[in-house]
Symmetry: C2
Subunit: 225 residues, 2 copies
């Protein structure tokens, strides 16, 4: 579905130029859509921001909805290339999850792909087959996380847990970062990685008290301390 | 800012009717904006969905942007009334955080206010003073969480942590739920509360191994197991 651009009547660029130009268009369009909303962004706006004529832009894209699909597929490509594929060979499931968190977090804090991440996770404007395609790619990542959590429990590396809730808790913690993290703020990326890993895997409660005594239940009784 | 509707030339409803009608308009508008995007939703669409004429709707709202601000303020009202205010009197900071997580989670899983939550957290279409107003209300909640985490550490109820990262990790885990939770799915709300509380506060790693030996660092050396 994404190879459409290679069919277009492009000048005889080198493949690297072609890839570079495609990325630039997708990143520019993503920035505009984040600023002005999908409905509020016209093809004309995107062409102007890319320093192309409208006809020139249509060499590269099929339609506005297809452009949105391409942005989301590009986001999933980045994600799979930078987060999932490199951790697949890690045999120890807990070490795999630690590495996965680090890589996912680094991708989310990266300024250049920030708008791509936002569009991937916030804009439900896709419909039909395009929507199903992106949802299937997201679901594969959730399944991978669930599988790694379950494997880590079986290997005695994590305590018994609900793999699906753990996977979504992991994702929520990590992906929410694009909403608050500022690259020039007090917390740097590498500190954030370390703190988040410890927080998520190590837990917050002090290990020196008896869990039953210090952990209130979901609904503490009225006379609880 | 939200008392605008009491100035309008409304029929002499009882105050409860008025509040009920206002909520219905905000919830209906939120549902449409989630479906079609803010730019893609017209005042005419909202009026029709509310079974009002356009003029009738304008008795209740000032403008489309102001309606968006009202939706977000309504979301923050719900949030403060149902999550923050009830936990403020809880003296023990850890018990306060447990209760806060439960209440926040219940609000997020509630079907009726789901679109309100989405708009509050995903749509950055507000500008200027309106945007600053909502951001200030959100920031107060983050500060409250940060303060409770810091207090729980001082009281020896939690191990030393980074209060800001802990606050946003808490928020990310809890708010991400609206993206995946289905009320008719296998996990029920009360189980979700229990699992998330244990996961976040209790941590995942087994307590019976020596942390240094089993916990890979952010960047494991090349020869790590």
């Amino acid at each position: 579905m994404l190879d459409r651009m290679s069919d277009a009547a492009l000048p005889p660029d080198r493949p690297d130029d072609h890839r570079h130009r495609r990325r630039a268009i997708l990143e520019t369009a993503a920035r505009l859509i984040c600023e002005k909303g999908y409905e509020g962004t016209s093809i004309q706006d995107i062409a102007a921001a890319c320093q192309l004529t409208k006809a020139g832009l249509y060499h590269h894209i099929r339609s506005k909805e297809h452009l949105l699909l391409e942005i989301m597929n590009y986001g999933m490509d980045l994600f799979e290339d930078q987060v999932v594929t490199p951790v697949l060979p890690i045999l120890d499931p807990l070490e795999r999850l630690y590495s996965c968190m680090e890589r996912n977090l680094m991708l989310v804090t990266e300024e250049r792909s920030k708008e791509i991440t936002i569009i991937l996770h916030e804009h439900a404007t896709l419909t039909g087959e395009a929507r199903a395609q992106i949802n299937a790619r997201k679901k594969r990542y959730v399944r991978f996380l669930e599988g790694s959590f379950a494997e880590a429990v079986r290997a005695g590396r994590l305590r018994p847990l609900h793999p699906k809730v753990a996977a979504f808790a992991f994702l929520g913690m990590v992906l929410w970062i694009y909403k608050w993290f500022k690259p020039d703020g007090a917390i740097k990326e590498d500190e954030l990685v370390r703190v988040m890993q410890q927080l998520f895997f190590g837990g917050l409660e002090r290990g020196d008290a008896a869990p039953a005594a210090r952990r209130p239940r979901a609904k503490p009784p009225a006379n609880s301390p």
